[in-house]
Amino acid sequence: MKRILQGLGFTTLLALALNAAPAYAQTTVATTTSAIPLRYDVSKEVTFSATVQSIPAKSSHGLVATPGLMLQTGSGTVQGRLTQFTLSGKDSLTITAGEHLQVTGVMTTTLQNKQVFLIRTIQMNGRTYAIRNERGFPLGHPARNIVTATESKGGQL
């Protein structure tokens, strides 16, 4: 298939990305709210610094149990959840064990009553990358989603 060979240049992609938002904004929408609790409630965001204790290892068949990024904080270990775009695919990030990060997100309780931290932004190497939007939906191309300092929200863990 030639579709990959038809890949656009970065400049074109950037132009498309910039054009997408205005096109969407032209619509008039009457939004509704759901009675279901927000899984990602941006008003409950917290920010903390941590050291990457481990990232999931690839097994022989590719699928692994207990996916997640284990983060060592001053008050203990936190299981951080990354999106499917964070470490794989185009414009993904590279995170290694021992790396120091600052993450912003929301702690949530899973259906199995485990605590996991849904990470929305990751600050490392002097830059902050968004991996979700404020509704908690995954964002593709995280390496391109650089957040300015004023967009950072949340308290401290």
Partner: protein, 649 residues
Amino acid sequence: MNRKALWIVLLALGVTYVAGCGSSSNSNNIQVSLIQPPPPGFLAPNAAPVSVTATVTGDSHNAGVTWSCTSTIPANPCGSFNPSATPSGTATMYSAPGVVGGVTITATSVTNTAAFATANVQISTSGGVAGNYSFYVTGLDANNVYSLAGAVTIASDGTLTGEQDYNDAAGITVVGDTITSGILTFDPNAGLGILKLNSTSLGEEVFALNFVNNDHALIVEADGFATSSGSMDLQTLPSTLSGGYSFTLSGTHGGSDEMFVYGGVFSLSGTSLSAGTMDANDGRGGITTGQSFTGTLMAADASGRGTGTLSNTIGGLSNSIVYYIVGPEVIRIIDMDKSDTAIGSAFGQGAGNFTNASIGNSVFSMQSNFAGNLYASVGQVFPSGAIADRANAVQPEGTTGVTNNFNGVADVNEEEVGFLDAQIISGTYSVASNGYGNLMILPAGNFGDVSQLGIYATDPNLNLSDPNNPPSPGGNASALVADLDVNLAGTGVLVPQTDNSTASFAGNYALGFQDFINTGTESGELDFVGNATATATSPTLLTGNGTVSDPFDLLGGASFSLSGSFTSPIVPDGVNLGRYEISPFSVTVDSVTTPIPYLAVAYQASGGQLFWLEDGADDQGSVFNGQIQQQVLPLGGDARKTAAKTTQK
């Protein structure tokens, strides 16, 4: 080609076969007859040798016959015979050539070459399955989520031409791509096969498929460039589209890849699309319900492909769409905007005039696409309230009718936040006369993040999975489903549950699933299509094999297209009839050391149709959802039966 036309072609082939099975005599009254011609119907290229036998009468030398053949395509090979000469009444073995086309086999008297007998045989890769088929898939390639829809005209020898449309969220949009050549090959006794397309813009695409019957196949792109799941269905092209339709679309925005889904209803009359009402769950823009919209659909071409524009829609569904007709009440829709991608279907509503009573006992199944918060959910619901409404009480004009209650049981697998197995659910639902409705699982939060669904009723006479064939008898209306929850977005179906007896889950099945994986370290999509046999008597097992498409090398196998096999216990739920645990669903994949240790759960709409999902209890960081559909084997059976029947005359 419509179904009637297909029959005409098949009948013609049968007549051709008989006409070609001729003989000749001479003045010495030597006669040659083929007492054992090649099997009726079609032989695959390089098929296992078949025996053919000729007798000679009136030959005082008793010298037998010599065997020869010619191809209908000049310079093409026609096959071979072993031995090339036989005594009268002694069989020779005919080996088919490696290429498709017509072949004439001739047995000629050694004593007098003017005496001979002939038979025609068609060398085909598609078992005689032919006609115009529409296909659509959605999945993942290097550019993230993509959508692909098209139509192909398949000849009886398996060769094909057609056209297709491709769109992804990275701004690559290929409009009206001509499929210049290709070929369909499959095993008529299993349905498993390959569809290869060669097109002007997209180049070569390869799909693994499994035919459920002659009209319908589950397909998976499996060429190393992409992986996806979808359907291929025989087309019946109407002169015009008209009436009420329900639709859903699933897609992603360009740039940041937030997932969205749309669902709703509209009416068609000629090129005019009117009375549209749509819902949206947009990861970027939020949840919107009841948005009115209109549009225009231009007339379809000879392939059933048309274009259209929509007005006053929500989100990215505002510029251009392309549609492919499957039949008068089934349309595949692909959003061709460069700023996003989406694909889905619209199904007719038949006589319409829906009420809450239009929905009866049902099985639902839904899933996100790869860009969303990954999840799948399958379950069954039983309406339980509002007796007056269920008795078709007249509703005030312009109202949506009273709300019905339901209860049921369901499973959900949310990749990021866990799973619920056999969760008892209840809630309310409502369907307006135009088919637009909703179903609420209450209280919100009782069933994971799934609670608020848009449902859009369709013609009770439509089988949403296999639209060329009727649904199981005795059911109510089906519906398309859009998940309108704040934490999740997905699309799916709700179909009548007409038979939940365990004895009915037996026989040959085509099955497939789309598996979204996020282990934290790596992510991507696997797709599977295959077949299986379900045994209803102890031990109840699901045993099968098929193709695993893994272009992202998530399994570490030797290729992007792998063979997978499984033998799994089927354990009926002793409490919830119609629910089965297929666990462990351990898939052994060639060149992969460790089988994939899936657990799976299926819900039975009927013996012919089940929906299944991966049970999150397997803790694999993955979510799959798919269908299990009963097969009619052998494929190409219509052609075989026609030829055989005619030959016996």
